[in-house]
Symmetry: C3
Subunit: 258 residues, 3 copies
């Protein structure tokens, strides 16, 4: 049985499919698959990465049977294990192309970290987002507290992390924290539709945009203005801008496929 696999779709998208006979629990195999996906995404014909799942639940995070074994490790060895997960999060956050999560059923623990690390999030109606680390005497990892700070107000982030309260896709969407809530079973199709729209766009500009939007939450206004200026001056000299602006002035659709 394969626990996770990576596919390419239409020669333009990389799809990470988390098998959820184990509700998409994180595993060394899944780590390897995600690593493989972002390796593939470096190919210029790839325009987006999709994180999706089979079996009705996005990802339930780490396996507690594995975690209990970590007591036997030294603290330094435990840090190494956690850095394995954090390497995946850094791959998502530094992806050259947009990353979309299709959250069917829900996401929990490090599965929630994975979902919120993505640029765009499509969730099924009634999907629940849970950070239940506290129930196991633990604190969030996988960049969850960083992502929550960029996505929800502090009282809601505290509620999720201190009380392990499941939060619905609908409540998150109302706050602008999720892009799209769709009927159950349709998240992957809708995420593909978003990816198709992205795939028609300018790959280099999109990569620059996702980095700029991300740094907006970290830099001062002054530093971010300079980052925008440098990015814009570079992009204005590129082939994508020539095509994009020309198409606009010629009232035709731009062709960014080259």
């Amino acid at each position: 049985m394969t626990l996770a696999r990576v596919d390419e779709l239409d020669d333009r998208l990389v799809v990470v499919n988390m098998n959820s006979t184990r509700r998409g629990a994180l595993s060394p195999e899944l780590y390897a698959t995600i690593g493989e996906a972002f390796e593939a995404a470096r190919n210029p014909r790839i325009r987006a990465v999709l994180l999706t799942s089979e079996g009705g639940f996005f990802c339930s995070g780490g396996d507690l049977n594995t975690l209990i074994e970590r007591r036997k490790l030294s603290e330094a060895q435990r840090k190494e294990k956690i850095d394995g997960l954090h390497h995946l999060i850094r791959l998502i956050r530094s992806s050259p192309v947009p990353v979309i999560a299709a959250v069917e059923g829900g996401a929990a623990g490090a599965g929630l970290s994975l979902a919120l690390a993505c640029d765009l999030i499509v969730a099924a109606e009634g999907a629940v987002f849970t950070a239940a680390y506290v129930k196991a005497g633990l604190a969030p990892d996988g960049g969850l507290t960083s992502a929550l700070a960029r996505v929800v107000p502090r009282p809601l982030a505290m509620e999720m992390c201190l009380l392990a309260r499941p939060v619905s896709a609908e409540r998150l969407a109302a706050a602008g924290a999720i892009n799209l809530v769709v009927p159950a079973g349709e998240t992957e199709a809708q995420a593909h539709a978003l990816a198709d729209a992205l795939a028609k766009g300018p790959r280099n500009a999109q990569g620059t945009i996702r980095a700029l939007v991300s740094s907006g939450y970290e830099l001062t206004e002054a530093a971010q203005l300079d980052a925008e200026r440098n990015a814009m001056a570079r992009l204005q000299g590129g082939a994508e801008a020539t095509e994009g602006i020309s198409a606009f002035l010629e009232k035709r659709k731009p062709d960014f496929s080259k």
Copy 2:
């Protein structure tokens, strides 16, 4: 007449009760009481601090009769006075256990600073949150502008602080900035219920979580990932994790009372 008092409830909670015959105005006595509460919270059996009030209004902030006297002080002396309030805010923000505000009626000025410094906020239906410093020719203190930045979008923070517009609990809750809106008269009971839920949880992990959630709004993603890794590696080696994970695997409720 006592203007504020601190109680212990069920041997696990510290409750700061702001008497509001003066609508819970801040006073040296209240400062001392809050200081006493956080001193008490250092005891390992204490699991949460509640800020609440009697008389139907959470806290109306500083007393303008006192403020007008400050003109006679030097600027350095005025800074010392303000640092008295800021010391309270730092006590709340660095509390070892979660802090919950039960906002009956409303909160104004430094009373709003107190409420928003808390981790979780329960408010009564129709309660109003007001930052009216501008009406007195002053600017917010007590960390209000820091808290607002972590809780609401900038245009709303500007509206509250520049125009002194009262904002309803309902509007803040819709944005995720307040955790729970309940019928008038029920905020304290509901805040107790949240505190009871917290009191059943792992004290050390909860203290770590509230610090991590807070730093998420301040650190870069890279620095926050490292903070999460260090916290997780430490907690994985502790007694709370052993109990929490064991209980999960044994399908029983964890006992974090020890």
Copy 3:
């Protein structure tokens, strides 16, 4: 035909009117007009700046006919051109008095950057906010990614910038990102009403408040507490505080007109 003009209203407000026969496209003339407005705003009798438009659309951003010419420039020269826009944004962000945008119809590109740089935003029902840089193979400038980080959750900012999806005034207002949504044709009147309310307030305190609210999104809690303390200690010694507190204690309206 004048493309933009600056008026003074009631001797207290500076109004920048962007003529939108060209849908308020940014132009050297508009740049000059905005510069003139903030020069005028340094006069102590000026209490607010309004950015508004004629012709039913706030501002559509840069002119693509101009942009295409920039290919011929060196990257350093392009940076200089972009710094022209960024200078305007810095003028808005460092304004001594509050700045209000009256968004009729919508705002796009650098027009959206202009709108979101303002402290308060009034928008017409059905107005749409669009960051379509990506369609032209470009990334946002004018501080847009900085402003979005302070105004909306990251997934929504990504949706706007990566997919160029128009977002309605209503959706932004629900998230607290816009202050007021009013019937089409009424944004300027409503923005004037806000400006009138501001004009009755204390100019120096308001300038301090808008700077503090802004830095709240950039500084650590510790640094922001110190910034608040310093501002408060200074304002407590000023004439505005004397008038504001006295008026409150004497139960009369304060007079901040001097």
